[in-house]
Every structure is written in structure tokens, then in C-alpha cells.
Subunit: 720 residues, 2 copies
């Protein structure tokens, strides 16, 4: 079997063993990493050569000589309480002065905003001044005991990624790289020129790995050199005076500091996007895509491939947005450690091929005697593999120091096993797809397609305690034979619902992930009610449809059969207890306690027809079902990813979609073992989603398959 | 020592032992109970005779002959989803048809409201009809998939208290008593006449115990004869057509069904009271007080005392309201099981004396071999006694079947001990008060004085899991030598803050107990900030000052030093951990884990000066302090009552008020032992707040008192 879909990180000193590794892992490409150099030895191995290119910081001479054209950022000062009728604010007080410096060359009165956060009103510019000597803002005629903030522009004087590596690795006086901004025409032209020069000077490079394009996601350090704010999706570090001016030309109105700063919440994806912020997203996507296309065209001119790294300076590319395909990239590469990360890459449109760089990095933090890199890699593969069964991506690789990895022979063996399975998938699944269960699922939130596979996430992985109960649903779905799409509330209005059998609304109250004020829109709730009544399946996780309004908190409590106690109904009797009737969703459950994590709590039934499948005295209903007309609904208080919860979600979807008897569904009597049918190829793939041996009986189309699987095994059977 | 402050429930069959019990418990009054009869034997014991009188259901012949003048209630139908352009709603569907019947004699189009709960709009009366035959409402031209409700008037055809006893005791075909409404002039006159007749016919009765006056707090049963809604403070069962009409005359506008029904939340005390509901409270207080005064005058005319039971038909009396003293009652009596219940009675203004009827009732539910009535009574006494040390009330008693109680000799002994201690308190504390620590505390909520000692409560006791973290604070305070007052946001505006050293804001977000939208009022937050800055102490429990607005959730997060993560700041780094510096509040704490119950969660620091005294990885900050100017602030995620939490609250108040060194403060090295100084009498009272023997050292004014106390002991020492 050919193994030729692997990108190998190389390192000087590994010349002797590299052929063995290439053989074992099936490498057909090499790449360097931070701190390793692509020597001609490796360039001449006959493999494809990848090279990283940073469009906005490759030429630090340019940065030094054009400090006026460095990237900018909107920041909000501390919230300062006036104790008299004047107030002095040091905008930079809680920021890292090596990362930012105040940008006051462009009139602060034009680009900054001083806001009274007690009244919500902007302070007139004639009442405040910025002193470039003291670097402080003095506000006159303040209302004592009101809170004031200064929203200001700063220059980015240290590239975030380099700053992180610099501080972590204690690079001491190594030069701080500064990012320059293509919103300045001169710099824009230079970026293209620099790229062309670089392309000329790197004839052996086959793949230019843009890392990434122009604007980094927001990472802000505090005065103690620690991360204060980080948003993998954040746009606040992409703003600048020329961008503001160009925006005005295009949209006919002026963006204010507050449109980006958003009360200090910086429009994270959890926030319901404002109209102005949505316009800004459009503007920046268009700008980034146009320039990125010019970069890609240059790469093609030199007969190389253009690949984009998903992350770092990826702001504005929005791979699921309308402009991304126009960039014309050959490929994307992203790093991940789980199934939803895989699907975010493998579902990305508009490129020829997709690559995953699996974690863990070959870095000393995990490759040491306190850890077992082999098990870590195995766990990541197990989670990721589920998603590959549904939508296989084209290539894989790792990053870091090869010399470190080869010190761990069991790790080398595990990666050999992984690459072997990865190639089996390619061999067996060529030109076919999994046999989908005829259930099309819409994940409904305020973002829709634009943030596909990015819901409830704060970074690359599944997130912290707040997000885990909701990303767990996506993680489970990433490896299930359902078509999963992401829709927003406009899609509901334009009658897309009829395409789906299941709608899932998952997240916390008053976030973009559940929908916030959209749930007070009669058209939205009416259309969903009609669709459920006529047979649709509605699954709510956490605080679905939540908005305190007109006598309920969950606006679709009539469909869900449950609501959340917000102490408006504290005087109503609640007698919820576990349903005594067996239910399809939980009938095979041995242990009735569901791990709901940091889930929504105080959920109670509002209908006598609500069937409670899991309930605890403190938190209330954990899992319940309800019927509405011909439709079915499932409520889950939280579903952090686990094999058990994944099984529950699978069964909940089948039930809600009236597909308990689906002839495409596979049922396993062991939650650690999952099966995937590929009927066109007459194949059944069976996964051991654990590091232990497992026995299982799988049922598919009335047939039983009894199997014993070794750790991580991927077993192929002919369908009987 | 004289024992003559005890009201004894009598029962036929106890004639032989009653003298012994009178002696042991020091009874000077007798009363009957539900199901016991006051025979002449007991009437002639030479003790005061209490008799219960029910003004609105004493004459059931009147009720039967004047069914048009029964009490009414506003109810809301189920929330019904329209599936086409007409919708039929059965308003009574989920109500108990033996408790209510639809009242349609007065034009439904005038007094009912049909509301679209999807849009919030009222449905025009020409689009719906009520059919008295089918007892259903038909709505035409409904918007399909919108939710509709009918707010309607019903007659109360079964008195709630009698219904409860009837159903619990299975009284079968015993007549259902019906409450009649003094809002009807004819019934009003009859109530006074009936009372006068009754007074004439009960010459041996000394104390008329009104149980209570006219309107019962709201208790609504469902179609399964189970309680659906119960609100000890609820006014929705006090409404009627004549009341609506009279209200209109007095206030110049018409109350609508929705003003009482309140989206189905029925204006519980957790809800921020609307202007209309506040007007209604005023109207009903005035009406009830005026008629109650006439009743009391009649009682006095017959040389008897008038006593009001705190509960049942007490709606509109509002003992902390402005009209209550005008009733001219001699006394109040209330039942309780804890300290805050005691203070609610003992702090009540406008009466000559106050009586407590301690729980447990002598009823078979607790007086059986599965329970220990003695320990139950002991626990209740221990909690209540703390409050009596601060504000002693005048009399005590019990209720129920005496014949049952005397079967439990240890219970009889415990009550003997309790009455003995109660009398000691009266002997020792005559004409003096506890030595107050000079810290005056304001409990701030939207109700202020009107709901003194009633905050965060749903019924008589401390409430369920939602309220316990907040009522725990009141319970602790009930037995502490601080002046405690209750203020609302108007009091803040009228500059009452300067009277206080401490403000406490405790409860959940968006409730009247924390204040809801009041926190967006710049005047409110500014005045509190100024007051704290100049030395005030602000203690927040749960979601103090909560309202999502202008970039923070806790509007006084600048004072508290903490805020709640509402997923707007999920991308901000949080590195909270336990403070390494010792703090006065917790320095004596052996076990750092605080039981916060069903508390607020996900609290994080927003200031580097926040000192975290208790923290857990899942819920975040549990207890922290922060300084603001000269002032101090304490945040507590929840403080259900316990001896340990009580001690924490005591120390938190002293710290926040800068009174750690107070010469009035007593410190005990054992949380089960509390001391109270009465310096005018040169006495130190020391309580064992447990059923076990305790050793303790108490410090007061530099002196140490080393004591060993038996179970429940009350020890009196001379101050040294």
C-alpha cells in the first residue's frame, strides 16, 4: 500500500534516520519548524518541500523603516471610576508596553472614544485631551462616581506569535518582529514585492505555506507579560486608520472605536454580532481575500503551490465565508487534536486539498519522561479518526523537532500505525462516501455557515468548562454519518428549514451560539414551531432558545417541554422525577447518571408530556424528551464529549428524526466501538475508540457482527 | 421565677394532665386547634382564652346564599400554541375545578385579557369570545404558531386553608367552606355583623385570634388536586370586580388582568414590582387596614383583645407597611422555626405584644416513632433563641394535639427547658437591650422596609435551594448584635445611606432582591460608590448589583472587585487563586471550604486588589474582599445558614465596617457557642447553639470567659 500523504518535520542531525522514518510514516513532503532549518540535504531528498512565509513580518527592515505603517489595534483602557469632576486615565495601564504603544499620530479626537460606562454616553471630545508626553487622557467635567473608559488606537510593535515564542523560550535580546499593515498602500505593494523576491530566492520550495496572511487573531498581553485576552476568531487587531477610512468609503459611514471595542468584549464570536461589526467582517474578508489572491497568483507564477495555515494571521480569510474560494489557494493546513477540528478542515470549501497537522508537537513540554507521547498521539488519532470516516482529508503531518520524537520508539510505532490507518482510509474510501443516515442536521446559531465547526469555541480545541458542554455535541457529530450544516436566523427566515430533519441549538443564554434576541422574533419561533409540528426534530443543549420574554425563558419551551427556573417561577411546584417508561435514547444505558459538566442548571418540565430521562435534585432535568405535533424534541443540559455522551447524542438524533429503525444506522453494544458502513464498496469499518482491547456486537441492517478489536484498531469487514 | 407567657393548645381527654403541663410550661393562656374543641373545662381553668375567628368564612350560610359575592382570583390559562388561524383555549384546563369556577358574570371582554405571548400584544376583544356552555375561549384570526393565553377571573369556591386540611385529612363529603369578599358592600356589612354576633356569643373568650383578615395568600391547585402555585406574599387571590372598580375610582386608571397576572409570574416578591402593582399594593393595604380596624374596634367594644395571625388571610395587612399600625391590633402571633422568622415577628411595629407559635405542631406527621420531636423542638429553639437575644418577643406557644405531645416525655422536658429559658430571657433582659456593636446594616432590595425579614423567601421558612444561599444571611443576622434595617432604591436616592455602616445586597440576578434594572440608574450606583469610597462597607451575596449593562454584569464590580462570567468575557484570562495573605474574616477558619449551596457561580476577579478567601476550580470565587477608597467590600457566592457561615458573616461585617477591634464584639473560639453582652445589666449570656456539650473561650473587651455548656444551654455570667 502506497504511503504518500505525510508531511515530515525535519531537523538537522536526523540525516541518518530520516530515510527509515520516511519509509515508516510514508512521508512525501518535508517542512521546517520554528527553530529548525531546511538544509539542502533535506531539500534534495526528492520529496516535496514546504516553506513557511509570513507576509506581514518577513521583512523586518521594512517594519523598522516604516513604523508609521505598523499594524494597529483598538484597545479599551481600564474602567476607571471618577472620584471628582476630573479624571486622568492611563490607557496603557494594564497592557504590555513591549507589545503595544499608543498610536496618537492620527487625531485621537477623531479615532478614539471616551465613554461614560455608567450612563452609556460618549464624552464629547471637547471635554477630554490626550497628552502625548504623559501618555494620559484627562477628562474634564466628569460626573463623580461614574465609570469612564478610553477606547484608543495602539500600534502593534511586537508580532504576537513571535512574542509568544520569544517569551516562552526566553530569547532575551533577539529582535522583536513587528507586523506591518497592508492597509497602507506602500506596505501593500511591498508585501507583494517581498513575496516575489522570496519566491525567486527559494527555487527548491514546492509549497508556500502562508502563516497565514495579514492579520493575527487577537492576543493581548497585560502589564505582567501574561495573556490578558485571546480570541482565535478576533478581529480587533486588524483595524487601523487606513482601514477605517477605506471602510467609510465602501460602506458610507464611519466605524467608531466602540464598534470594534464593544464595551470591552471585543465582539468575540460569543457576542451577537452588531450590524456594524458584520459590515466590518464583510469589509475585511473582501480586503484580505483580494490581497491574498494576489499573493497566491504570484506563487502560481513561480509554479509553486499556495497553502494557508488555519490560524495565526488568518483573520479575514473566513474559510467558510463567501470570499475565501476566490483566493484560489491550492491547500489549507490546520492543526487539531479532535474530530471537530478535523471537520473544520475537511469541510472547508474552495481548495484542492486539505492537510492536518496533528498534535502533539514534538516539543519538550510533552516529549519527556513524565508523559507518554504515544498515548497522547493515540488519543488524538482516535478522536480525529471518527471525523475522517465521514469526511476524509487529504494529507497529514506533524510539527516540531524530529530528533526529539525518534527518542520515543513507541511513539514512532504509534505514528506508523496511524499513518498506516490513514492510508487504509484513502485506499478503501476512494471515490465513495460513508452510507449516510438520511438525517440532515442544521446547527442553528447567529453565525451560521460562516463559523462552521467553530461554535462555542474560544480557540483551537474544545475549550474550557463553559464551552465543553456544547462543543461536546459537535465533537460527537464530527464522527457520525449525518450531514451536518450550520445555519443562522436569516436561513430560518428564507425557509431553509425544510431541508433538514434536525435542528440543534446549543450554548449558553444570551450568546450568539443560542441566538440571544433573535428568539423574540415571531417569525423565527413560528417557522420553527411549524416545522417541528410537521415532523421536525429539535434538540436543545444548555440554554436553547433562551431569552427572558413574554412569560418564558426558553422561547420554545412549548416544543422543548422544559424551561429554566430564573426565579420568576420559583413559587410554582416542581415535581420532576425520572420517567418510569423506557425510552429509545437511554434504553441501553447501564449507568443512568450523565456527565453534563458545567451545564445549564435548574431546568424543570413545563409540560406533563415531558419524559425525563436524567434528573438530579440539585441541577434539575439533565436529559428529557417532548413531542410537539408530529415532531420530537430533546433537551440536554450539557454534553461534554465522552463515548457515552456521544452514544446518547447519536440515539437522541435518531429518535428526534423518527429514524430509530433507520436501515443505515449501526448500533453497537459497546460505546467504545463504532461502525461505519460504505455500502458502495460493500465495506464495514469498525473502530476501537479506546486504547484497550474491546469486544462488541454491531447490528446493521438486521445482521450482527461480533468483533474483538485491539487497541485503536481499525477493522474492515465485508458487509454480509 | 414566674412562667406566664405561654399559650397552650388544649384537647379533650387531657383534663387530668393539663395542670401538670400548665405548671411545667408556665401556661397562662389556652387555645384550641383545628380539630379540638374549647370545652368549658378548659375555659374555666382561670387562664386567658384564645379563639380563632375567620372573618371571611365564618358564616358559610352567607357564602351559600351570596355566591355572587365570593372572593375572586385572576388566573392565567395554559400557554397554548395556535396551529391554525383559530384557537380554542380551556382556561381552567390545568386548575382544580373544586377550588375555582370561571367567573364570567362580569363581562369577560372587560375584565379578561387574551394575549399573544409570542408578540406580547393583546388580542382585540372582537377577535375572541367566551362560551359559558363549553367554558372555552375561541380566538379568531390567530397567527399560526404563536402562543396565546387567556387571563381570566375565577371565583374561589373553596377556602384554601380548609381545602388543604380537607384533602390532607381526607374529610370526604364535609362541606367545602367558601370565602366571601368584603369588597362587596353587602358582604362587608355582613362581616362586621357576624363578628359582632360572634363576640356576643363568646363571652369567655379573652383574645380574638383573627386568622387572619380577608384575603388569603395565593395558593392554586392543579387538575390533579396538587399545589400548582403558592406564594405566601401573593396578592392575586385578593382581586375582584368590585376591587377593580374601586381601584379605578381611587387611582384614576383601570388595572388590567395582566397587571395582576404578570405574564403568569403573578408578581411574586422576586419580581421587580411594576408601578401598577405597587399602586395595587397601596390600594389593598388601605382597604384591608380600614376594615380590619373596624373589626378590631368591635373586639375592643366587647372588652377583648384582638390578635392577628401572621399568615393565611394576611394579604394586604403588610405588617411593615404604613397602614398596619392604624389597625390598632393588640397583638400578632406567628409561627416560625428559625431566627429570621422570630425577627419578622419581634420587629413588627404597631402592636402591644408579639407571640410566637413554635413549630413543630403536635401533629402525627412528626410525633411518631420515626422522629424525635424533642430534637426537632430543640433545633428550632436554638435557631430562634439567637434572634430572641436581640429582640425578645413577648409570648410563646405551640399548636396541635396536646394528647399527642404528652406521649413524648423527653419532648415535654425539652419544652419545659425552652419555656424556662424563655422566661429567663424575660427576667434578665427586662428594660434593657443587647450591647449593640455600632454597625447599622441596611439590607438593600427593591422592597425595602415593606418586606422586612421576608427577603428571598417563598414561604414561612428559609426556602428551597435557590433561596437558602441568601436567606442564610438573614438567618445569621437575626441573632447578631447589629441594627438591621431594610431599604429600597428610593431610600438610596433620598440619601439614607449615611445612616448605615454596611449595605448588603443579596440574591439572584434580575430579581427584586438584588434590584434588577435599578442598577442601571446612575444616581443609585453613584451614591453607593461615594458612600463606599468614604468608608462604607458593601457586602454582596450571589449576584449583587447584577444587570448586564455597559460592559459589566455586576454594576458595582469596581467596588466588589469581582464580576460574573456571562460568556462575554470568556476570552479573558483568569488566574484567580486563593490569596496567600491571612485575612481577618477567615483567619480562624480551620476548614477553608465554604458550603455555598446552590450559589452564584463563575465569579472571577476584575481587580488585582481582590483578595480571594475561598475559591474552587469549577464555580470560581466563593468569598473575596476588595477595598475601594476608604471603604471595604465583601463578595460571597452564597451563604446558606450554618454555624460556620454565620461566623463568617459576622466577621465579614466587622471587617467591612472597620470594626475588627470593636469593643462591643464578642469572639468565640467555637462556632457552636455564641455570646451576647448586656452591659446595662452587667450580664453575658452564652448560648450553646448545638445539642451536644461544648467547650469554648469567649473574648469580650479584653477579658476571656472559659465555659463548658451542656446541650442547648443558656448560661448567664456576670461581666468581669
Amino acid at each position: 500500500m502506497a504511503k504518500n500523504r505525510f508531511t515530515l518535520p525535519i531537523e538537522e542531525g536526523c540525516e541518518n534516520i530520516v530515510h527509515d522514518i520516511i519509509q515508516k510514516w510514508g512521508a512525501d513532503a518535508v517542512r521546517n519548524s520554528d527553530g529548525t532549518t531546511m538544509t539542502s540535504f533535506f531539500e534534495d531528498l526528492g520529496l516535496k518541500v514546504y516553506a513557511t512565509y509570513f507576509p506581514t513580518r518577513n521583512d523586518q527592515e521594512w517594519a523598522k523603516n516604516n513604523r508609521d505603517e505598523l499594524q494597529q489595534i483598538y484597545l479599551l483602557s481600564d474602567r476607571c471610576t471618577a472620584v471628582s469632576d476630573t479624571l486622568e486615565i492611563d490607557p496603557m495601564h494594564s497592557y504590555f508596553d513591549q507589545q503595544f504603544e499608543i498610536h496618537s499620530q492620527d487625531d485621537p479626537h477623531k479615532y478614539w472614544q471616551v465613554i461614560n460606562r455608567t450612563t452609556g454616553e460618549e464624552v464629547s471630545t471637547d471635554l477630554w485631551t490626550y497628552d502625548p508626553l504623559t501618555k494620559k487622557v484627562l477628562i474634564k467635567k466628569t460626573t463623580p462616581w461614574n465609570i469612564y473608559t478610553v477606547g484608543f488606537l495602539a500600534k502593534q510593535i511586537w508580532d504576537v506569535t513571535q512574542m509568544y515564542n520569544h517569551l516562552i523560550n526566553d530569547w532575551k535580546d533577539k529582535h522583536h518582529e513587528m507586523p506591518y499593515d497592508p492597509a497602507f498602500p506602500k506596505t501593500r505593494a511591498h508585501i507583494l514585492q517581498d513575496l516575489e523576491d522570496w519566491l525567486k530566492n527559494h527555487p527548491k520550495v514546492n509549497v508556500v505555506r502562508f502563516t497565514s496572511f495579514f492579520y493575527h487573531f487577537t492576543v493581548v498581553y497585560d502589564q505582567h507579560k501574561q495573556q490578558k485576552f485571546g480570541d482565535w476568531f478576533g478581529y480587533s487587531a486588524s483595524i487601523s486608520v487606513p482601514t477605517l477610512n477605506n471602510f467609510n468609503k465602501e460602506f458610507g459611514y464611519t466605524l467608531k472605536a466602540e464598534d470594534i471595542i464593544d464595551q470591552g468584549y471585543y465582539n468575540t464570536a460569543y457576542r451577537l454580532p452588531s450590524p456594524a461589526f458584520q459590515d466590518y467582517l464583510k469589509y475585511q474578508q473582501k480586503f484580505v481575500s483580494q490581497l491574498a489572491k494576489e499573493c497566491v497568483d504570484l506563487v502560481h507564477k513561480y509554479n509553486k503551490e499556495a497553502m494557508m495555515f488555519i490560524g495565526d494571521n488568518w483573520i479575514g480569510t473566513e474559510p467558510f465565508g463567501e470570499y475565501f474560494p476566490s483566493i484560489g489557494l491550492d491547500a489549507v493546513v490546520g492543526s487539531t487534536s479532535n474530530g471537530l477540528g478535523i471537520r473544520m478542515i475537511s469541510d472547508m470549501p474552495g481548495v484542492r486539498y486539505r492537510e492536518v497537522r496533528f498534535l502533539p508537537y514534538f516539543f519538550p513540554d510533552l516529549f519527556n519522561d513524565d508523559n507518554d507521547p504515544s498515548s497522547i498521539a493515540g488519543d488524538i488519532w482516535i478522536k480525529s479518526r471518527r471525523a475522517l470516516m465521514i469526511n476524509l482529508l487529504d494529507r497529514m503531518g506533524y510539527g516540531g523537532y524530529l530528533g526529539l520524537a525518534i527518542k520515543y520508539p513507541t511513539f514512532v510505532d504509534t505514528v506508523t500505525l496511524i499513518t498506516d490507518q490513514f492510508n487504509q482510509l484513502h485506499e478503501n474510501l476512494k471515490d465513495t462516501t460513508v452510507s449516510f443516515i438520511p438525517v440532515k442536521i442544521a446547527i442553528l446559531n447567529a453565525w451560521g455557515t460562516l463559523k462552521a465547526w467553530q461554535c462555542n469555541r474560544t480557540g483551537h480545541a474544545g475549550g474550557g468548562k463553559e464551552s465543553a458542554p456544547y462543543t461536546g455535541v459537535l465533537e460527537a457529530l464530527s464522527g457520525m454519518p449525518f450531514v451536518v450544516e450550520f445555519i443562522n436566523f436569516e436561513d430560518i427566515k428564507s425557509d431553509k428549514l425544510s431541508q433538514y430533519q434536525i435542528v440543534i441549538n446549543a450554548g449558553s443564554a444570551y450568546t450568539a451560539w443560542t441566538g440571544d434576541i433573535h428568539w423574540t422574533d415571531p417569525e423565527i419561533v413560528s417557522k420553527i414551531r411549524e416545522w417541528v409540528y410537521n415532523g421536525g426534530g429539535f434538540i436543545g443543549v444548555g440554554a436553547p432558545t433562551a431569552y427572558q420574554y413574554c412569560g418564558s425563558f426558553f422561547q420554545l419551551s412549548d416544543i422543548l417541554g422544559v424551561d429554566k427556573e430564573t426565579e420568576n417561577t420559583i413559587n410554582f411546584s416542581k415535581r420532576d422525577s425520572l420517567s418510569k417508561t423506557k425510552h429509545f435514547i437511554t434504553e441501553d444505558l447501564r449507568d443512568p447518571i450523565i456527565q453534563t459538566g458545567f451545564c445549564e442548571r435548574n431546568i424543570y418540565s413545563v409540560s406533563e408530556k415531558t419524559q425525563i430521562l436524567s434528573h438530579d435534585l440539585i441541577n434539575g432535568i439533565q436529559l428529557s424528551t417532548h413531542e410537539f405535533g408530529q415532531g420530537r424534541s430533546v433537551y440536554m443540559a450539557g454534553m461534554p464529549y465522552s463515548l457515552k455522551n456521544s452514544d446518547l447524542i447519536y440515539r437522541a438524533i435518531l429518535w428526534a428524526a423518527h429514524q430509530e429503525q433507520s436501515k443505515e444506522a449501526i448500533f453497537s453494544n459497546n460505546i467504545s466501538v463504532e461502525g461505519y458502513a460504505y455500502q458502495e464498496k460493500n465495506l464495514l469499518a469498525i473502530l476501537n475508540n479506546s486504547l484497550e482491547e474491546q469486544n462488541a456486537i454491531l447490528k446493521f441492517q438486521g445482521k450482527e457482527y461480533t468483533v474483538t478489536l485491539s487497541s485503536m484498531e481499525l477493522l474492515w469487514l465485508k458487509l454480509i
